[in-house]
């Protein structure tokens, strides 16, 4: 995995726990059409947008916004 993907997964861990890697991987494949391992800084803005939408379905929306902001900030 790239340093960016590692960082995104690590950022998501406190919010998604063991599902963090699968969740981020799914968002990358389904919406950005990239593998998690190939994630780069250029993808972060878009990824954050999809994370906010997707995470909002399974957790408190306020927390989803918080996670999206952290991902977007890199």
């Amino acid at each position: 995995m790239s340093a960016v993907s590692d960082k995104v997964v690590a950022t998501s861990k406190p919010y998604l726990g063991p599902a963090a890697e699968s969740f981020i991987s799914r968002q990358c494949k389904a919406h950005l059409k990239v593998e998690l391992a190939n994630l780069s800084s250029a993808h972060l803005k878009d990824l954050a947008k999809w994370v906010e939408l997707g995470a909002g379905l399974i957790m408190d929306p306020a927390k989803a916004v918080e996670l999206a902001k952290k991902i977007s900030a890199g």
Partner: protein
């Protein structure tokens, strides 16, 4: 300082401890002050009583000496004994003066001091009457003037006796007033200690109630969430009530519920994708 449960418990119990210490200190002060005023008041009352009794004894002794002195008047061979009686009577009078002055110094109130000042006046009068009686009896013991001086002396002696008795009553009254003062201080102290104890108890109850609420409410919420999740309902919000260990537990629980939700959604999606593939294959 972080508001952990440990810190909350330490703060709560320290607060209760401080309250109990304040209650104990006030109680201790009240008992000390009661003891002090009781001791003080009893000492003054007893001292006045004792001074009054001493004055009476010296007065009786002075009267006895003067009686002897007067009966010895004109008796040959008894001049020396007579003079001795007179000197001893004067000594007793001086003692009465000194004791009355001490009583005035010890007396706690203006009224009490006035009573002992009366004794001083009475003993001065007695002294003067005695001087006159001695003088006239020495000149002519059977003269009219001598008889009058003797009568004045006897009146002064009676007056002094009555004043000394009054002094004793004053001493007794002072003791009684002391007892009343002790009773008043005691009642005040009891009321104060009981009041402060109730205040401490009320504060202790408030602190315990707040402490139990701070712990029980978030724990109860987590219990409800756990029960709901165990029954398969994952659409439940996990709230973080406090920035302590229970808050951290709520966060962990929330993360766990989110992960379970995601894995369940993913499983459902995979299942539906597989079903769709099977259906496509069949249609082909």
């Amino acid at each position: 300082m972080k508001g952990t449960i440990r810190n909350k418990l330490v703060a709560g119990f320290s607060g209760v401890l401080v309250i109990m210490t304040v209650v104990a200190a006030i109680g201790g002060y009240a008992v000390f002050s009661l003891r002090h005023s009781a001791f003080d008041a009893t000492r003054v009352g007893a001292r006045l009583n004792s001074l009054s009794l001493e004055i009476q004894i010296h007065n009786l002794e002075a009267v006895r000496k003067i009686k002897s002195y007067l009966t010895q008047t004109g008796k040959p061979g008894e001049e020396k004994a007579r003079q001795m009686n007179l000197e001893e009577a004067k000594f007793e009078i001086n003692e009465i003066h000194s004791l009355a002055a001490k009583a005035i110094a010890v007396a706690p109130t203006k009224e009490t001091r006035a009573k002992f000042a009366t004794i001083v006046a009475a003993v001065t009068q007695y002294e003067q009457a005695l001087g006159k009686a001695v003088e006239t009896s020495a000149a002519n013991p059977v003269s009219e003037g001598s008889k009058t001086a003797l009568a004045v002396y006897e009146d002064a002696a009676e007056n002094l006796r009555e004043s000394a008795e009054d002094g004793e009553v004053v001493g007794h009254d002072a003791s009684q007033a002391s007892l009343e003062a002790i009773e008043r201080t005691s009642s005040r102290s009891v009321a104060l200690v009981v009041g402060i104890s109730f205040l401490g108890l009320a504060l202790g109850i408030v602190v315990s109630y707040q402490l139990s609420r701070a712990i029980l409410i978030p724990v109860d919420h987590l219990r409800e969430v756990a029960e709901s999740v165990s029954l398969g309902n994952l659409d439940i919000a996990v709230r973080r009530y406090s920035e302590d260990e229970i808050g951290d537990l709520a966060d962990s629980f929330s993360r766990m519920v989110t992960a379970v939700k995601f894995f369940r959604m993913e499983a459902e999606l995979t299942q539906s994708e597989a079903a769709s593939e099977v259906s496509n294959e069949r249609s082909l």
